[in-house]
């Protein structure tokens, strides 16, 4: 298992180098550069030239990529001139917000989605099944920014029940418990928006997988032995049906990250998603590459984790 993990990590390294190269090339192809962004309305070609030289933008793309890779090899993700901070500090500052939002949404989506999926499968063909199935299909087809805007317009702007965005209230200096409650209030709308989207997928996958296993002999046998339906569904059937759900949950991490960009933008949530958007718009290459490296690493890691989890759940799976 260890050697498998090591081989997968080596493969991941190659992927990361490729990501660096592709990102540099894409940013280079995009019109404008960071010097132009920093110049603002001050149009002085000498200023642009000086700044480009200072930032190393006057060197060839190959040289810039090489220098960057050497630097990353030393554990340094570089310095963001746009933000005036080392990239590592920029990422570290934004990571907790994204983990909180992404983690909460994912937890709600998996817990709720599995539960609803199991119920729908157990009640196959019933009205409840129809409601859950159609509901999840609808939820999956909703544009995320539309759903987010709708919730804000209704619950924040019209009813003043919840904050429209951000992660904390700006006005009061709060005690620690109040801060936690305050953050949770701000978390409700973005987490609900994101969870609805993710949950839809989990519901559909769980339902389909459960339907496959519910007709299996061992389920009949379990029922025949007089085991109550709850344990039959959750211990016997779900354990065998959960594999595709894990695949979906882990492979959807990339999807989750891209949804995070939209949800964070709609709710001004100060996480990595808004950072990604900002760094693209401000041509902040060091932050952008750092961010993509980080997220690729996370996605690759999650896929590896998914494979290892498989093995733990299903002893028949052997990793080579």
């Amino acid at each position: 298992m260890l050697s498998y993990a090591a081989r997968r990590l080596a493969g991941t390294l190659g992927l990361l180098v490729a990501i660096v190269v592709v990102t540099f090339v894409l940013v280079d192809l995009a019109p404008g550069d960071v010097a132009q962004v920093l110049a603002g309305q001050a149009g002085d070609p000498h200023y642009l030239a000086d700044l480009r030289a200072q930032l190393g933008l006057d060197r060839s793309l190959g040289h810039q990529i090489g220098a960057y890779l050497l630097q990353v090899g030393r554990g340094d993700l570089g310095f963001s001139t746009v933000r005036g901070e080392p990239v590592l500090d920029v990422l570290a500052g934004r990571l907790p917000a994204t983990l909180l939002l992404g983690g909460t949404s994912l937890a709600i989506a998996v817990a709720g989605g599995v539960l609803l999926g199991v119920i729908a499968a157990a009640r196959r063909g019933s009205r409840l099944d129809a409601v859950i199935s159609v509901g999840s299909l609808l939820a999956y087809s909703l544009p995320v920014f539309w759903l987010g805007q709708l919730l804000v317009a209704l619950l924040a702007v019209r009813l003043h029940l919840l904050p429209s965005g951000g992660m904390t209230s700006a006005t009061e200096q709060l005690g620690s418990l109040a801060v936690v409650l305050d953050v949770l209030r701000h978390l409700i709308l973005p987490a609900a928006t994101l969870a609805v989207l993710l949950m839809a997928l989990v519901v559909r996958t769980t339902r389909a997988a459960m339907l496959d296993v519910l007709d299996e002999d061992y389920v009949m046998a379990a029922r025949g032995r007089g085991i109550r339906e709850g344990p039959v569904l959750f211990r016997h059937a779900l354990r065998n049906a959960i594999r595709p759900v894990i695949t979906v949950a882990t492979s959807e991490l990339g999807f989750l990250l891209s949804m995070l960009v939209l949800v964070e933008a709609v709710f001004s949530w100060p996480g990595l998603g808004t950072l990604l958007l900002d760094s693209v718009l401000s041509r902040d290459t060091p932050t952008l590459v750092g961010l993509l490296l980080f997220s690729s690493f996370v996605v690759a890691g999650a896929n590896l984790l998914g494979d290892l989890l498989y093995m733990r759940i299903d002893p028949r799976v052997r990793l080579r």
Binding site: G40, Y47, L115, A122, T171, A265, V266
Partner: protein
């Protein structure tokens, strides 16, 4: 059996739902609500009151250092923390800031500034002339995108004593005093910056200034500033705190304002009409004269048929500026008559040729230029590059130019792509642009029209216009000491430019801002209140005296 399980699953689901709903209800109910814990008293006598927190919308300011950037996203924050030597009032007259007085030598080559006594940096260290000299020589003249253009003009900077700074110029430069405010020349603490790279100094993350507010904290979604109780302008500031909430997208800022989470923000013009009808909200442009702009179309004079002045004038006649002003800009920006914003006294002149909406005349001019309509009525197929903010006006222009036979393809681009296409690559037929004029035509207007500024850099002479007479007038006005004569010179500049119509001037004015009516005093901060409002804003429900 299924029924048994159904009941259990239902019970579990019900418990889960009750728990989640309960938590949400608790969180909704325990919310801190919006804004300040506002006491009921109101300032009846009109004198400023003390205390309160102003929550303002802002973009991410990047490094919090005024001396390395002219970005409009940075200075609303740095303007509260730092000072310049002077500050401009709403008539663009310099007023004391870190300098309490100054004198200009009769030949205009020497400026002597006497500094405020007893000023301290936020970390307690004394401020002195050495800070001014250091900031100019090592940061501003090298790194500030606008102020560095002064480098060839400044001969040397002397500091005869701790409270005096003397600038010696190589040649007379009349707008000099307008370039030494915080926006163009914020003064940094030498003791923190000396011997470091100003772009990477840690103080850019935890700034130390001399201004009315001290930096307290920065999170990804907000920057919090607290009152500097040792501020050298005695009795100020009035507020206890300013919190900038980082909200990059305009729709989100509007929603936050309407939800009562923000006290102050800058709405886009189309939203102004809606906000104006909202109770307890003030919408105005007062105090933003220093950010006055002229929104314009830039024809590429390198390309036919835009090198023909008749075609440019035809387009000017074809476009209904009144309609654009009323629809796309909610009447906040007014129809423009020329290259200088109408709010920009005393340099604005309306003694120029006018282009009233006259499609018939436009058609005659196009005929004369040899652009006859084809069978489909189209005389010319061309394109306009723009950024999304201009889209509502562009739709109107497309329709109006279409009526005279000019078929316009609208190419909406992201901001940087548009700047690059128009100003760096010069690869366009028609381009939208918006140039900020103030505080002096030498700084804001000249760059778009002189022959020498036909360079690949943002917000320069993108149209490729070149008129030696205009160049000479700009050159003379830059060193002309007499204000009345400068006004005359710029009036002639405006007359010639409007006659040649190298840009088609659409609407002008300052951008609006909206604030909670419980706050007041924004416009008292001068022509750049956008940056310096913290000096003068107060909370009407604050206390009558400063609590110790």
């Amino acid at each position: 059996m299924l029924t048994v399980m159904g009941a259990r699953a239902k019970a579990t689901a019900a418990v889960a739902v009750v728990l989640v709903v309960g938590l949400v209800v608790v969180l909704v109910a325990t919310g801190p609500g919006s804004g300040n814990s506002k006491p009921a008293r109101a300032g009846a006598d009109g004198s400023p009151r003390y205390g309160g927190t102003l929550v303002a919308a802002g973009s991410d300011p990047g490094p919090i250092n005024p001396a390395i950037t002219s970005a409009g996203t940075t200075h609303p924050v740095t303007g509260q923390i730092f000072n310049g030597l002077v500050r401009l009032d709403r008539n663009f007259k310099p007023q004391p800031d870190l300098a309490r007085s100054w004198e200009e030598s009769p030949d205009g080559l020497t400026y002597t500034f006497r500094l405020q006594p007893g000023v301290r940096w936020h970390d307690g260290k004394p401020f002195s002339s050495a800070d001014v000299k250091y900031t100019f020589e090592n940061v501003l003249l090298k790194l500030h995108p606008r102020t560095r253009t002064l480098a060839p003009t400044i001969d040397r900077i002397d500091t005869p004593d701790a409270n005096t700074v003397v600038f010696r110029l190589k040649k007379r430069y009349t707008p000099f005093l307008k370039l030494v405010d915080e926006d163009n020349a914020g003064i940094l603490p030498k003791h923190l910056f000396q011997g470091t790279d100003p772009l990477k100094n840690p103080a850019n993350a935890k700034p130390v200034g001399t201004g009315p507010f001290k930096f307290q904290s920065r999170a990804a979604d907000r920057i919090t500033l607290v009152r500097n109780k040792d501020y050298f302008k005695r009795g100020r500031p009035y507020l206890d705190r300013i919190v900038f909430r980082v909200i990059a997208q305009p729709p989100q800022a509007l929603q936050a304002f309407q939800s009562g989470e923000l006290d102050y923000f800058s709405p886009s013009p189309p939203n102004v009409a809606r906000l104006k009808t909202q109770k307890g909200v003030v919408v105005t442009t007062a105090g933003r004269e220093g950010g006055g702009t002229v929104i314009r179309l830039i024809p590429n004079l390198r390309r036919k048929p835009f090198d023909d002045v008749r075609v440019r004038r035809a387009m000017a006649y074809a476009i209904d500026r009144d309609f654009i002003s009323r629809t796309a800009y909610a009447g906040i920006l007014k129809p423009a008559t020329g290259p200088i914003t109408s709010t920009f006294a005393p340099f604005y002149s309306d003694a120029v040729e006018k282009f009233p909406h006259d499609p018939a005349k436009a058609k005659r001019l196009l005929d004369a230029a040899g652009l006859k309509p084809g069978k489909d009525g189209v005389r010319l197929r061309t394109s306009l590059i723009l950024d999304p903010g201009f889209a509502p006006a562009a739709e109107v222009i497309k329709r109006e130019l279409g009526e005279v036979g000019i078929e316009l393809d609208l190419k909406v681009m992201e901001f940087n792509a548009w700047v690059n296409q128009l100003y760096i690559k010069h690869d366009f037929d028609l381009g939208y642009s918006q140039l900020t004029d103030a505080p002096d035509p030498e700084i804001g207007t000249r760059r778009a029209f002189t022959c020498a500024n036909r360079v690949p850099a943002p917000f320069t002479n993108g149209s490729n216009y070149c008129n030696k007479r205009v160049d000479a007038l700009f050159e003379r006005a830059a060193s002309e000491p007499d204000q009345a004569k400068r006004v005359e010179l710029y009036a002639e500049v405006q007359k010639i430019i409007v006659r040649d119509e190298p840009n088609i001037f659409l609407v002008d004015g300052a951008g609006p801002y909206a604030h909670d009516a419980d706050f007041t005093g924004f416009a008292d901060a001068g022509a750049k209140a956008t940056y310096y409002f913290g000096d003068t804003v107060w909370f009407k429900k604050g206390s009558a005296s400063r609590k110790p």
